[in-house]
Subunit: 342 residues, 4 copies
Amino acid sequence: MHAIVKPSAAPGAAYQEVPVPEIGLRDVLVKVHTASICGTDLHICDWDAWSQSRIHPPLVFGHEFCGHIARLGGEVEGLKEGELVSADMHVFCGHCYQCRSGEAHICQNVKILGVDGPGCFAEYVRIPAANIVPLGAGISTDYGAILDPLGNAVHTVLAGPVAGRSVAVIGCGPIGLMAIAVARACGAGPVLASEINANRRGLAQAMGADVVLDPARDNVAERARALTPGGGVDAALEFSGHPEGIRTAFQAARPGGRVSLLGIPSRAVELDLTRDIIFKGLTVEGINGRRLFDTWHQMIGLLRQKRLALEPLFTDRLPLRDFAQGVERLRQGKAAKVLLTP
Amino acid sequence: MHAIVKPSAAPGAAYQEVPVPEIGLRDVLVKVHTASICGTDLHICDWDAWSQSRIHPPLVFGHEFCGHIARLGGEVEGLKEGELVSADMHVFCGHCYQCRSGEAHICQNVKILGVDGPGCFAEYVRIPAANIVPLGAGISTDYGAILDPLGNAVHTVLAGPVAGRSVAVIGCGPIGLMAIAVARACGAGPVLASEINANRRGLAQAMGADVVLDPARDNVAERARALTPGGGVDAALEFSGHPEGIRTAFQAARPGGRVSLLGIPSRAVELDLTRDIIFKGLTVEGINGRRLFDTWHQMIGLLRQKRLALEPLFTDRLPLRDFAQGVERLRQGKAAKVLLTP
Amino acid sequence: MHAIVKPSAAPGAAYQEVPVPEIGLRDVLVKVHTASICGTDLHICDWDAWSQSRIHPPLVFGHEFCGHIARLGGEVEGLKEGELVSADMHVFCGHCYQCRSGEAHICQNVKILGVDGPGCFAEYVRIPAANIVPLGAGISTDYGAILDPLGNAVHTVLAGPVAGRSVAVIGCGPIGLMAIAVARACGAGPVLASEINANRRGLAQAMGADVVLDPARDNVAERARALTPGGGVDAALEFSGHPEGIRTAFQAARPGGRVSLLGIPSRAVELDLTRDIIFKGLTVEGINGRRLFDTWHQMIGLLRQKRLALEPLFTDRLPLRDFAQGVERLRQGKAAKVLLTP
Amino acid sequence: MHAIVKPSAAPGAAYQEVPVPEIGLRDVLVKVHTASICGTDLHICDWDAWSQSRIHPPLVFGHEFCGHIARLGGEVEGLKEGELVSADMHVFCGHCYQCRSGEAHICQNVKILGVDGPGCFAEYVRIPAANIVPLGAGISTDYGAILDPLGNAVHTVLAGPVAGRSVAVIGCGPIGLMAIAVARACGAGPVLASEINANRRGLAQAMGADVVLDPARDNVAERARALTPGGGVDAALEFSGHPEGIRTAFQAARPGGRVSLLGIPSRAVELDLTRDIIFKGLTVEGINGRRLFDTWHQMIGLLRQKRLALEPLFTDRLPLRDFAQGVERLRQGKAAKVLLTP
């Protein structure tokens, strides 16, 4: 089969022929219908510090996809061939304290398919049956291909109450943009969006933000305080990973509010804990992946009932072999989500 | 001034002249702009068993309204004359355990204006400043007049998670209808509605219910199980107060789900606690009034951002003097909300 | 091996020779060290209506135990032979909505070992590896044998806040008695206990109840109101399953309080929902089993640090063959927990 | 009357004669029985940067105390002369978003008695009736004098679940020491304590810590991981305010755990958010004051039932005039709580 492969410990990626994966008794082989490129995939291409410490080439990467079940392992129950499915690529151990407490998304022994093992930028991908999520009726393959990042967005937004509450989305990359749509669909208001890239500010508007700000010109925290009765937003959701974005999130939240952090800073960040967390009585949530499978249930509920209209994010469609072109479009800030077809 | 009065311990109500209320140092006098009739007002007219045990005529009744501040008591801070306001009519003591725990809506010494003291079916109404809610910009007087029952609906819906969750609304009187709109606005789906009256089923559709059922023909609990992956809805919200409706709510909820009870049965109800609550691991919430003032904050957030479109419920508009005609329309099941102008 | 068996569809139980269970690839064979008799086992002996509808003889029953791992299935990871373990006997499917939402304790397809399949009143018992709980250091075999009912107690007590809160325990059978100790260990106070049997009232005292009441003489709800500032206890925990006990729980809880129901009534119960749940703004929790495995984590935390002193409950110790004698002691209300050694 | 006064904008404090406070209609005059010295009082003596920016001399300071009601304002209800009371010294506005959401402890307009207005190091102190907490039976004047810091401890400990959970207390000043006792009383285990001062490590033991560590020698985070099944403690409670203590708290918490921050760092702190919060899926709570009055209810519940034995903390008793001597004892790290009698 063909796949996008990190061939060796150096920048770049290759479209290569590789063997179709073997599956175990409790695995499922999925024929990939549509995959999608994540920011993480760009880091893997770039061979940045994080990739060097974590990735073992050669590796088929990619972790956002949907497809149809091609073959079932002998002990798999409750699934059937031909079914349209996606998967949570966080392979959890099932034994650790977290797995046994309903927190498998932060399993102490997690392995991520597409990072620590072969992923979905390929014609076929092997997935443990326990990680498969059947999509059922009413969810298209376009949406099916982005459930991984959409799950991040849903997990971040719904980590606290948003109905009838004010929300700020800091950083409008694809996950931030999805979070705007999710927050709107779940009754948040006003929804403020902050983003430095004009293209993305346009998409933020399209996703339903009530107020779109440019942190290069606007004092986001001040605007948050001016637009809300509580001295800031009820929930500030951080997707930029930039130290300034993170500090803005803390300053934009009201006393007693919430800050949820998903964006990943690449180095330590200085925070005024006294003013911005302690005196404010703030709650901060670190967000990792999506809850297994509670976030998936919520996400599928929202999608099946057509509560989210994310079409403006499907900016690019390419055959899998043109992966490099998709990467280029993302680097230029021209694409939101690039859909790939093997 | 003119007012609707319960003149004596007997059925009926009268449009009479009464003195404008005196106000104390921490009270506010509000000039009523629009009021609205509640089911409770019909009970007071009827002089039913509950009314006989609770109401002390003569009484100006009515408890749903908005209006402009006409006069401020000498010690009132933070409000100003002319402001458009509504009020929570539950006058709480401020000293009891519940008031001191952020649960003033279930104050042990609560008095309800319009029930235990003079209400808003009048040109002017006296309200303790602590009960006043300024409406600010963006909320019309029509919506302002129904915030009391809308608050009931918001309190019921948001007593547990609804985003991406399935919800059943049992009983589509005005509060149930509002609950449908609130659930939709807050990301619930599918939203099932069950109602015996065809008129109201039409309104349920207009409010955004995904599935509308007639309990005279449909097995509501069975449909709930068929339409959801969890063996029933995540949340069953009971507004009918009928023993059958209540039992349906318990049967329609999934194991681990929630039942919120707002509808008030007039006598004891037999429940199969073992099957319907204990083995299911269900959570049941009794809903009384609205949280002070957290529900108001959520409600105002939803309204200010235009997340709710309740216009179909404003079926009737009458001058206050024609109160009896509004009562008649409600009794015939022809009206949803009747707005009154003094 | 020897075992206590329900030999046929009739009252009684027999001590018989049966084959040692075969185990599958993901099962564990446990050599039983100590088992304990549950009220459910008495129902099975009696062959009551519930047993007739659920039990398929011949059946080795019993579901409270600890023992050492004798053999591991070929695919079992993370466990080792000789280890002291107990198990949650609720065999969950792993696929249903509840299993995938961290609520496997209310799995839609649950099978209970000792009820729906062979249990632990035997020299050996087969347990799916996923259900095994290693006890580690610091937990004796006596305590290890009662973790199933202790888990019920912990689940009930900790279904809501108890630290610094008043608690009423209605019904002081073994689980109610354990709940008193758990509530005390978790900072509850005052802890009221209500029980009709004088023996058990003595044990309630020994478990640390602050006030012990006899519902035959005391008005429990009134005492609850007199002893607390909130107009009733913060949490009323129901273990009796009697309609009167259940109604007392609802009346003893304060407005805004919690009622957790574990005791199982054998028929429908009439409740004054309006007065006792709705107007009070009460929260009611149905309690089934124990959370998998969150309750186990909490329970092991409490036991390992010696926060619970349950020795007074170990009233009887018998060889497994004298099971009938243990049943007799329980029927006479003389025993609390009967420990059996195969 | 006599009082401890900050006479002017310079280091030091004086024992002076000042007028007895006048009270308003809704105030209470309390005759102070016992007061206690807080670390904040040392900052005020020192005239540090914070004090210079906040304190307006001359000021009677002090904010930990109990006493008897000497006089009631004309509109005060529900209190009576002679009653033993304490008070929350955070005077909240009652109008802001937070006050109206049950979060008055983080009122946007809060004024603290003893900091922003006259405090309790005096024979008499004026307190708004809304801030008074009657102590009722069973709470001694020693305990009554330390309810302010004990409330901080209770608020911090109970900001998340602790029953059957592992807890680390970082920093064993008086509030950290109280937190150990509270955590123990509420079922936490194991309770780890980390403190650099040997005296305080002894007190940590006396308060019931299961493991006492010295951060100068022990790797606290490593020990936390070794002693718990979840890869760290369920809850790390930070009372030191030191950057190292704060970083230790984050490293000691398990994935999915909680960090509550009460200790106040005097400058910005660098945190590895990616590793220590985001990937871990951590929850962080800023803790300010105590919940009004929910924390007080919990604290009084714990004290009335004798669940806390804090006597070892009452190391010093002095007449109010010897305030300077108490300050000295605290500075030398010899005293835990210094009780003062006017």
